[in-house]
């Protein structure tokens, strides 16, 4: 017997009801995918803005540096250490840095800033810093000039070829001071970085802070954040014990990590509420669909169709309706997600200002991840499967005579 043919015809018997039920599934899938894509996209964006642009997925410091961020807590970046790190699986880029704080001034303006000594080539491989250049030129290996973030340049009222004075503290309490011409201006999506960052060539920074061949941090990028723990463990095993602290970006930016976790949890609760509402909607229509056909089931049993076969037929019908909703939800959400993934919406006006105030890039970024497509589809499918059990149990409990009398 062709159950699918009968199930299909039964599904199309009351087109309006089928459309309503399939629409419930469609909206559940569509909204879940859009909401989740938007959330994960915004997390990815936040992580990329911080992790990709600066901290990296993992950082290595001298033991104790993170609790006491002074220039004295620096370590020698030997060729041997470099070899160990670059040969570790999943590591795609490294950037040795000296990170310190200084006072930047130009004419009568001054501001406390973060100054980073970088190897221009490594840094560009690491964070694509060159792409963030909006004015001037990128640093070369022996440059004694600086790159300044856009927000800071605006504050100090400086442009390319102007000079800024940096004053800070060097190794063992030595005073550090220097005047540096501006080679270029870089713009960061993260407002926090954009208003207080200056890049120097690593050699210039080592001279500025009197650190010979030492660095304060080594930032590491890996090809996927899911390998973070295995990379950290591998580095811990390979590097000399008790000399280095190896930290994840979650430890380096706990505020970001926690806010993502909290937002993610609220997103999951929202999804659960959405699923519950939709499930009740589908349940109502399914129940109606079954109740009004009890007599028909009675006739089927009377002529010799087993209840299990009737239940299977109804299962097929509900699956057909479910799959219509499921696939249309996936199909229609896909172009929307793709459009916002490749062309994120840039907030304007007050909304943009408010987001920047909270340290976020004012854009609406979507994410494309096969796993959330699979997860949401499976979740909705499981809900449908669960709902199917109710009419099926009703059918299995039917008595022929009662069904015929209904």
């Amino acid at each position: 017997m062709n159950y699918l043919k009968i199930a299909w015809r039964n599904s199309m018997r009351n087109k309006r009801r089928t459309i309503i039920t399939a629409s419930s599934v469609f909206f559940a899938v569509f909204l879940a995918l859009i909401m989740r894509s938007m959330q994960i996209g915004s997390y990815d964006n936040m992580i990329n803005n911080i992790v990709g642009a600066f901290t990296g997925n993992i950082q290595i410091h001298k033991m104790g540096y993170w609790d006491d961020k002074i220039i004295d807590n620096s370590f020698e970046f030997t060729e041997e250490t470099k070899q160990i790190i670059t040969s570790t699986t999943h590591i795609t880029a490294i950037s040795p840095r000296i990170e310190s704080f200084a006072l930047a001034s130009h004419q009568n303006k001054s501001k406390g800033i973060m100054v980073a000594g970088i190897d221009p080539t490594h840094e560009n491989n690491f964070s694509k810093l060159k792409d963030k250049l909006i004015n001037g030129e990128y640093l070369n290996q022996n440059d004694n000039r600086v790159l300044i973030s856009e927000g800071l340049a605006q504050y100090l009222k400086v442009s390319v070829n102007d000079s800024i004075i940096l004053m800070g503290q060097g190794y063992h309490g030595m005073s550090a001071a220097g005047i540096y011409p501006i080679a270029g201006i870089v713009k960061f999506p993260s407002p926090e970085l954009n208003k207080r960052l200056v890049y120097l060539n690593l050699k210039s920074m080592q001279e500025f802070t009197s650190l010979d061949n030492k660095i304060t941090s080594l930032s590491i990028r890996i090809n996927d954040d899911k390998y973070q723990h295995s990379v950290i463990n591998s580095l811990k095993n390979q590097l000399p014990k008790d000399q280095h602290e190896i930290m994840s970006w979650q430890q380096l930016s706990p505020d970001l990590s926690q806010s993502i976790e909290a937002d993610n949890a609220s997103g999951i609760i929202m999804l659960a509420v959405l699923y519950i509402i939709v499930a009740f909607g589908i349940f109502g229509t399914l129940l109606m669909m079954i109740t009004e056909r009890i007599r028909e089931f009675g006739v089927m049993m009377a002529v010799g169709m087993r209840k299990s076969k009737i239940a299977f037929l109804v299962f097929c019908e509900i699956m057909i309706i479910g799959f219509i909703g499921l696939f249309s939800g996936v199909a229609i959400s896909a172009p929307v997600i793709l459009a916002f993934f490749y062309h994120p919406y840039h907030y304007k006006g007050e909304m943009a200002a408010m987001m920047e105030q909270y340290g976020m890039e004012p854009i609406l970024q979507f994410a494309i991840q096969p796993d959330f497509y699979i997860n949401q589809t499976i979740t909705v499918f499981v809900i449908i499967l669960f709902l199917v059990m109710i009419p099926i149990s009703k059918i299995l409990r039917l008595k022929t005579i009662n069904a015929l009398r209904s």
């Binding site: 018997r13 006739v299 002529v303 005579i401």
Partner: protein, 229 residues
């Protein structure tokens, strides 16, 4: 002729509202193979309940129902369904065809449940629909057929599985006189051709006139049976 339906001391008592109602009140009955029997009586006399119990659709409160040598009382719900599939054809008052299937598919449905081949199902369905005068409507769905035509499809469906027994509950109740006449002629012809035992309930005098044996039921008891006269 061999006795194929045997009912002994049959009782069906309903007690749903606290008031005891004896729908069947001690019926003893024997029907022989190939009989064309009408169970008649006024509404509420118990004829449909009796037919339901002979067909294994309902369980008696007490008593024995033996159909084709098998005690229906001792069968589980699944066994009864299988028994009906292979031995009993039903014709209902309100046709009860499956609305999404065409006339031919409705007739094939029962045979497919029996696991017969597609070719065999198709051939027999066409043959039966032609026999009931619906050879030109095999691809019509029930909604496109008149009441009389639907009931003829139901007759073809009832015969499709080559059952030994055809049970019909007021098969002509919703039909006009011409359709009733037509249907009864078809049923009589098929009774002779297919050798199935026909038992039907009715309070329609035209049906009673065509029956070879008439059993009169009132208040859950047989008050007259042609076989005893």
């Amino acid at each position: 002729m061999e006795t194929v339906i045997k009912v002994e001391k049959l009782y069906k008592i309903y007690n749903e509202t606290g008031v005891e109602v004896k729908a069947i009140n001690g019926i003893d009955l024997e029907i022989k193979e190939g009989e064309f029997t009408a169970i008649v009586g006024p509404s509420g006399s118990g004829k449909t309940t009796l037919l339901n119990m002979i067909g294994g659709l309902d369980n008696p409160t007490s008593g024995i129902v033996e159909v084709g040598g098998v005690l229906l009382n001792e069968m589980s719900s699944s066994q009864l369904i299988d028994f009906r599939k292979n031995n009993i054809g039903f014709i209902f008052q309100s046709y009860n065809l499956i609305p999404v299937l065409t006339a031919k598919e409705n007739v094939e449905f029962v045979m497919q449940l029996q696991g017969r081949s597609k070719k065999e199902c198709s051939q027999r369905a066409i043959e039966l629909l032609e026999a009931v005068g619906l050879g030109d409507r095999i691809n019509s769905r029930p909604a496109k057929l008149s009441g009389g035509q639907q009931q003829r499809v139901a007759v073809a469906r009832a015969l499709a599985s080559n059952p030994r027994f055809i049970l019909a509950d007021e098969p002509t109740a919703n039909l006009d006189s011409k359709s009733t006449e037509n249907l009864l002629d078809i049923m009589l012809k098929l009774n002779q051709k297919e050798k199935a035992t026909f038992v039907f309930s009715s309070h329609d005098q035209r049906v009673v006139n065509k029956a070879r044996r008439v059993i009169v039921v009132e208040d859950g008891k047989i008050i007259n049976d042609d076989a005893n006269n």
